[in-house]
C-alpha cells in the first residue's frame, strides 16, 4: 500500500469522498450566492443576510469545504507533476515545499474567513 504523508486523510477513499461532498456543498453555496447577487442586493440586504446564524454556518461550511477541496486537489496536482520520478530529488523538495505553503495558506484563509463572517 502506498501512503502519502501530506495528503489530507492518508486514505484514498476518504480523500475521494471528502472531495465529492465538499464539491456539492460548494456548488450549493455558489449557486445560492449567485442567485442572491443576480436578483440584486443592496448593502442593507446583504448585511442582513450574513447576520443570520444559518447563513454564517452555511458560509463557514463553504469555507471549510473550499479548504479541504483545495488541499486534496492541489495535493493531486503536485503529486502528478512534481515527483522524484520526473524531476529527481528536486521534485520532492519542490512538492513538499509547495504543499506546506498551500496548507498554510488554507489555514490562514479559514481563520481569516471565520473572523470576517463571525465578527
Amino acid at each position: 500500500m502506498v501512503t502519502a504523508v501530506t495528503s489530507l486523510s492518508r486514505s484514498g477513499l476518504s480523500d475521494w469522498l471528502v472531495q465529492r461532498v465538499t464539491a456539492v456543498i460548494l456548488l450549493a453555496f455558489f449557486v445560492f450566492v449567485g442567485v442572491q447577487i443576480a436578483s440584486g442586493v443592496s448593502y442593507a440586504e446583504w448585511t442582513a443576510l450574513f447576520a443570520q446564524t444559518w447563513m454564517k454556518i452555511f458560509t463557514l461550511l463553504a469555507i471549510l469545504s473550499l479548504a479541504a477541496h483545495a488541499w486534496i486537489g492541489m495535493w493531486g496536482v503536485f503529486t502528478d507533476y512534481l515527483t522524484e520520478r520526473l524531476m529527481g530529488s528536486r521534485g520532492n523538495v519542490l512538492r513538499i515545499g509547495l504543499q506546506l505553503l498551500t496548507s498554510l495558506s488554507l489555514v490562514i484563509y479559514v481563520i481569516w474567513g471565520i473572523q470576517i463572517v463571525w465578527a
Partner: protein, 235 residues
C-alpha cells in the same frame, strides 16, 4: 501516395528520436495500419521495428499511437485514422522506448501483477469444478475480454505521471474482474490493497481509456464499481 511518418529511435545509434517519412501506395484500398507498416518493412526499410503477431486484434501486440490516438494497428483501417492523406505512427506514450515503435512494458505488467490477476479461493477444491450461475457468470462480461494491449493505460495521464503507483485502467479492469467473480473469496484482501490515494483513486474519470479500448471495454465503469465496493466496505 499516403504520407506515413514513423517514429524512429535506435538507442545504440541515435542520440535522440526522429520522425522518418515514407510514401506508401495503398492502391486506393482501405487497408489496416499494420498492412502499411508491413509494406514499409518489406519494400522500403527493413529496419523499421514494431511488435505484431496475430494481425487480427486478438493478441494485443501492436498497440500503437496512430495520428494521436492509441489503438491496435492490425484492426485500425486507414479510413478511421488518416486525415489529409497523412498518417503519423508513434509508440504508445508514457513507456520507455526500446526501439522505434517497441516500448518496454515492464511498468505496465508490474501494475497488472499487483492486482493478483488469478482466482483465489480458500475453500477446498470440489471434485469436478467450481460452479457458477449464469447470472454470476454474466457479471464477468466486459471484463474478461481484455487482451492487455496497454492502449488504455498509456492513454491515461494519471498513468503517465505515476506508472509506479497508479495501477492504471487495464490493471483495475482486471482487479474488478476478480472482485466481481463469485468464485473468488479474496475480496477483502484485494480491497484492502486498493485503499491508498494512488492505486485506484488517481483515476479522475476522464475516460481516455474508454475512448481508445480496441475491444470496446469500459475500465472507468469498472473503477467506479471498485470505488463503490471500497465505500460499502468502509461505511
Amino acid at each position: 501516395m499516403l504520407q506515413v511518418s514513423v517514429y524512429r529511435y535506435n538507442p545504440e545509434q541515435d542520440a535522440e528520436p526522429s520522425m522518418q517519412t515514407f510514401e506508401v501506395d495503398t492502391g486506393g484500398k482501405d487497408v489496416m495500419v499494420l498492412d502499411v507498416l508491413e509494406e514499409i518493412k518489406a519494400r522500403q526499410d527493413a529496419s523499421v521495428t514494431y511488435r505484431r503477431s496475430c494481425r487480427e486484434g486478438v493478441c494485443g501486440s501492436d498497440g500503437l499511437n496512430m495520428n494521436g490516438k492509441n489503438g491496435l494497428a492490425c484492426i485500425t483501417p486507414l479510413s478511421e485514422t488518416v486525415k489529409n492523406n497523412r498518417l503519423v505512427i508513434r509508440p504508445l506514450p508514457g513507456l520507455p522506448v526500446i526501439r522505434d515503435l517497441v516500448v518496454d512494458m515492464s511498468m505496465f505488467y508490474a501494475q497488472y501483477e499487483k492486482v493478483q490477476p488469478y482466482l483465489q479461493n480458500a475453500t477446498p477444491a470440489p471434485a469436478i469444478e467450481r460452479l457458477q450461475s449464469p447470472e454470476d457468470r454474466a457479471k464477468l462480461d466486459g471484463l474478461y475480454e481484455c487482451i492487455l494491449c496497454a492502449c488504455c493505460s498509456t492513454s491515461c495521464p494519471s498513468f503517465w505521471w505515476n506508472p509506479d503507483r497508479f495501477i492504471g485502467p487495464a490493471g483495475l479492469l482486471q482487479s474488478y474482474r476478480f472482485l466481481a467473480d463469485s468464485r473468488d473469496t479474496a475480496t477483502e484482501e484485494r480491497l484492502s490493497r486498493l485503499d491508498d490515494p494512488f492505486s485506484v483513486f488517481r483515476c479522475h474519470g476522464i475516460q481516455n481509456c474508454v475512448n481508445v479500448c480496441p475491444k470496446g471495454l469500459n475500465p472507468t465503469r469498472a473503477i467506479g464499481h471498485i470505488r463503490s465496493m471500497l465505500l460499502k466496505r468502509a461505511a
